[in-house]
């Protein structure tokens, strides 16, 4: 398992490749990998966004994500969990979050990944402050729904 909060840019595909090499995951044992990648958009609430600052609560955020991963490992049949989240200054097209889970079968992988992502969105202490193209600064006040 790896839980990480970083102010460095995240390259998701390299991250996933390296994690699979370094973790205890055994090739041939997992049949399903579910990956969610959250990426910064350049528009929100009909306005152009030029950059964003992500704040978190050092200590609590890591603790919350660790508990989330531990609970997922208890509830679903997972072989490993990876959660990486960016903080600090981010630009459109930057990766904000990567959640990945490995399981023998897709049912557990899909359900666990969605659960982790929805819990992260609704409860993990992160906050986004956008800088609009017109120079205005504004806090993002709520998330979009997780279901269509």
């Amino acid at each position: 398992m790896r839980i990480s909060i970083t102010s460095d840019p995240i390259e998701p595909w390299t991250l996933l490749h390296e994690f699979e090499q370094q973790s205890h995951l055994q090739q041939g044992k997992f049949g399903a990998t579910a990956v969610f990648i959250g990426t910064m958009r350049d528009i929100n609430e009909q306005q152009q966004v030029s950059s964003m600052t992500l704040e978190h609560y050092p200590g609590m955020t890591e603790k919350f994500l660790q508990t989330l991963a531990d609970e997922a490992l208890q509830k679903w049949q997972l072989q490993d969990v990876l959660i990486v989240h960016r903080v600090g200054q981010v630009a459109p097209a930057d990766t904000i979050v990567v959640v990945a889970v490995w399981s023998a079968h897709r049912a557990h992988a899909y359900e666990a990944n969605r659960h982790i992502m929805e819990a992260l969105k609704s409860r993990a202490p992160f906050w986004k402050k956008e800088q609009l193209a017109n120079g205005e600064l504004r806090w993002v006040e709520k998330n979009t729904p997780g279901t269509v």
Binding site: G38, L54, E55, H56, Y57, G59, M60, K63, F64, H85, I96, V97, M117, L120, K121, S122, R123, A124, P125, F126, W127, K128, K129, W139, V140, E141, K142, N143
Partner: protein, 77 residues
């Protein structure tokens, strides 16, 4: 003998309130801390609270050495 009090994100900006400490003997609950530090009698419904980095509600009892945090709805991911 004090309790550490922290504010985050838009709530910190709205209150213009840096992290502070309150004497433990002056307060019993999270709501007492909110009233003492902000001067506001009511805790806004959308404010989230953590004591020692675990979510709690406003009636939660506080003790010497606790860290109490107030913050707005979260928007990560």
């Amino acid at each position: 003998m004090s309790i550490q009090v922290r504010f985050f994100a838009s709530l910190r900006e709205r209150l213009n309130q840096p992290d502070t400490q309150v004497p433990a003997q002056a307060v019993q609950t999270v709501l007492d801390i909110w009233q003492q530090v902000t001067g506001e009698s009511q805790l806004p419904a959308n404010v989230l609270i953590a004591v020692n980095m675990e979510y709690v509600d406003a009636a939660h009892a506080v003790n010497d050495g606790d860290e109490v945090a107030f913050f707005p709805p979260v928007t990560g991911g």
